[in-house]
């Protein structure tokens, strides 16, 4: 496959990335095509453009902990959007990683949670009705994760189906943390 064909990559800047693109894509948790394909500008809303443009400044300043997509729609899935953004970041050598909630919980349980510069969790909160529902220790561990990442100046991008249900199931303090320190983007 010609990874330069789509025009997002060029041999001068990305030769070493392309030489090992499968391994890097695996590390990021996306298919290699997300790295080699340009980002569709129509995919991003105003808040997202603002947040991701200034990503490096957020990381350096440490005032914003991340971005939280909020909203629910039967036809909507934020995963492809996160894959595309993670691919865009990888092209610019930002250490991004997409992980499902189950994988995150497994790493937290094993105490070997990676520390990417930008962590995407496309199913961070799903209500019990949507197939979510966590045990108490898992909720506490997730709260710790968000705080620890903020302490280290690492950014986290989350998807939350409903703020109200999040407060009900994860607790009000969880919602306060997100509303207080994350930029919000509606889906």
């Amino acid at each position: 496959m010609d990874h330069y064909a789509a025009g997002a990559l060029n041999p001068k800047d990305h030769g070493r990335l392309v030489a090992d693109i499968d391994r890097f894509a695996h590390m990021v948790g996306i298919h290699p095509r997300w790295i080699s394909t340009p980002l569709d500008p129509s995919l991003l809303g105003e808040q997202e453009c603002e947040y991701f443009s200034a990503f490096r400044r957020h990381k350096a300043a440490g005032t914003v902990h991340g971005l939280c997509y909020v909203g629910s729609s039967a036809s909507h899935d934020v995963s492809p959007r996160m894959f595309a953004i993670a691919g865009m970041m990888t092209r610019q050598y930002v250490d991004a990683k997409v992980m499902t909630l189950a994988t995150v919980l497994e790493h937290l349980h094993d105490r070997d949670m990676p520390r990417p510069e930008c962590l995407f969790i496309p199913n961070f909160f799903m209500s019990k009705a949507q197939g979510g529902g966590l045990q108490t220790w898992q909720i506490a561990a997730l709260y710790d994760l968000l705080l620890q990442r903020a302490q280290l100046g690492l950014q986290t991008v989350l998807y939350v189906a409903s703020n109200k249900l999040l407060a009900n199931e994860y607790g009000q303090n969880f919602l306060s943390l997100i509303l207080g320190h994350y930029q919000l983007a509606k889906v």
Partner: protein
């Protein structure tokens, strides 16, 4: 020939105040005809924090220094032997007189011999044993030398974080670079070796002796030369290796390589396959007199009789500290054990000195130990993480270095990039 005056001339030629300090107060090794010059040099250093010139010594003491063709350590050894010889002869003469007098006194003769021997032993161990009551001179001379001498006159490795921390590395320092295979030890070592050498040449600073001896245990001379050329001339290594340099880069490289022919300080590259033991490297260093020694692949250095590889590496680290670092600051690359690879996967579990492969001796003997790490992410294409695992005074910390094979830049990342991401 006056060993004492040649010793002083060699100290002046080496230009290092700290070298004089390291020998301690050694008045007893000088003859009456030499002591005034020595006393003047010590007083001068204590007062002004710099070495006087030979002319100044002659003006103030009337003594002209003898020519020095060998390192100061050679003359110091000869002076030590001379001192033993003279002291023993004197003691034996006095003892003989007691034994052959009208009333022979063997006890007194024995005491004279014993006192003579004890004085010599104390003198011989002078560097190891020090009386704190007489520490003033050593401390003030060292202080003044650091205050006076420019930092860049020590060995600097090109990463400001590390250079500020070390204050310039000096004789006696063993510096260890540790990394897993393929994580950039050789490039980092070459970058460090090239930095001070090229900087001194750029500044046309003949007084700043920055010659190098680079011993490669893994690579032939040509690949090392190619890497150095690519770094120094800032042309892509891959294109140089494949002979596909663009014309401007080829011109740039030719110009750069022509320029270095005029540099004052030599940069010796030694094929480790030919100088396999520490003793071989030591002999070569005595001959070439480098201002800094670099050994790429310290764990591959051979030992004359030790076959067990763990003990061999421990023995060699000890020999490098004793024999090589005493000639010039010595930078050696080593490997992390496999345990480091497993640890780095567990992100919260830092790699430390216990993870250095083969032996604890490396950490114990090194003044400075730095770990070179490649993160498990795409960021590793553009950089490496350097961790200070051991500082001289317990300092720790970390920084990132560039890993740019286009511009051949392996310098420290000093300002974090906060520019906009391109949303394309």
């Amino acid at each position: 020939m006056s060993y004492g005056k040649s010793f002083l001339a060699a100290i002046l030629a080496e230009g290092s105040v700290s070298a004089l300090v390291e020998y301690g107060k050694i008045d007893q090794l000088f003859k009456a005809s030499e002591i005034d010059a020595y006393a003047f040099v010590r007083e001068f250093v204590l007062k002004f924090g710099a070495l006087p010139t030979a002319e100044t010594i002659e003006t103030h003491t009337g003594q002209m220094l003898s020519p020095a063709t060998e390192p100061a350590s050679y003359y110091r050894d000869q002076m030590g032997k001379r001192h033993i010889d003279l002291t023993l002869r004197q003691a034996m003469k006095e003892a003989h007189a007691r034994l052959t007098s009208e009333v022979p006194d063997p006890d007194a003769a024995l005491e004279i011999i014993m006192n003579g021997a004890m004085t010599l032993i104390a003198s011989k161990n002078g560097k190891q044993v020090s009386d704190f009551r007489h520490a003033k001179a050593a401390i003030l001379v060292d202080y003044a030398s650091k205050w006076k001498e420019k930092n860049e006159y020590g060995l600097q490795l090109g990463w400001p974080y590390l250079d500020d921390l070390s204050g310039g590395l000096r004789r006696g320092d063993l510096i260890s670079y540790v990394g897993r295979p393929g994580q950039g030890k050789t490039w980092s070592l070459l970058f460090g070796a090239l930095h001070g050498w090229a900087k001194a040449a750029d500044q046309d600073d003949a007084g700043n002796q920055q010659s190098r001896m680079f011993v490669s245990m893994e690579m032939d001379v040509l690949p090392v030369q190619q890497r150095l050329a690519a770094m120094h001339c800032q042309v892509p290594m891959s294109h140089l290796k494949q002979a596909t340099l663009a014309t401007p880069n080829l011109v740039k490289m030719k110009k750069g390589l022509s320029m270095i022919e005029g540099y004052a300080a030599p940069f010796y590259i030694v094929d480790g396959n030919l100088t396999a033991t520490v003793e071989d490297i030591h002999m070569m260093a005595l001959q070439l007199k480098p201002a800094a020694i670099f050994i790429d692949g310290g764990y591959l250095v051979k030992h004359p009789f030790e076959r067990d590889r763990f003990r061999r590496v421990a023995e060699n680290a000890d020999l490098m500290k004793k024999n090589l670092a005493s000639l010039a600051p010595t930078v050696v690359s080593w490997q992390f054990a496999k345990s480091a690879g497993k640890k780095s996967q567990k992100k919260g579990d830092p790699v430390d000195l216990d993870d250095i492969g083969y032996t604890d001796a490396i950490a114990q003997l090194s003044s400075l130990v730095i770990g070179i790490f490649e993160d498990d992410s795409v960021a590793s294409v553009k950089g490496r993480r350097i961790e200070i695992l051991k500082g001289r005074a317990g300092e720790t910390g970390s920084f990132r270095t560039k890993w740019d094979f286009e511009k051949m830049d392996f310098g420290q990342v000093e300002d974090e990039d906060v520019g906009n991401l391109q949303l394309v």
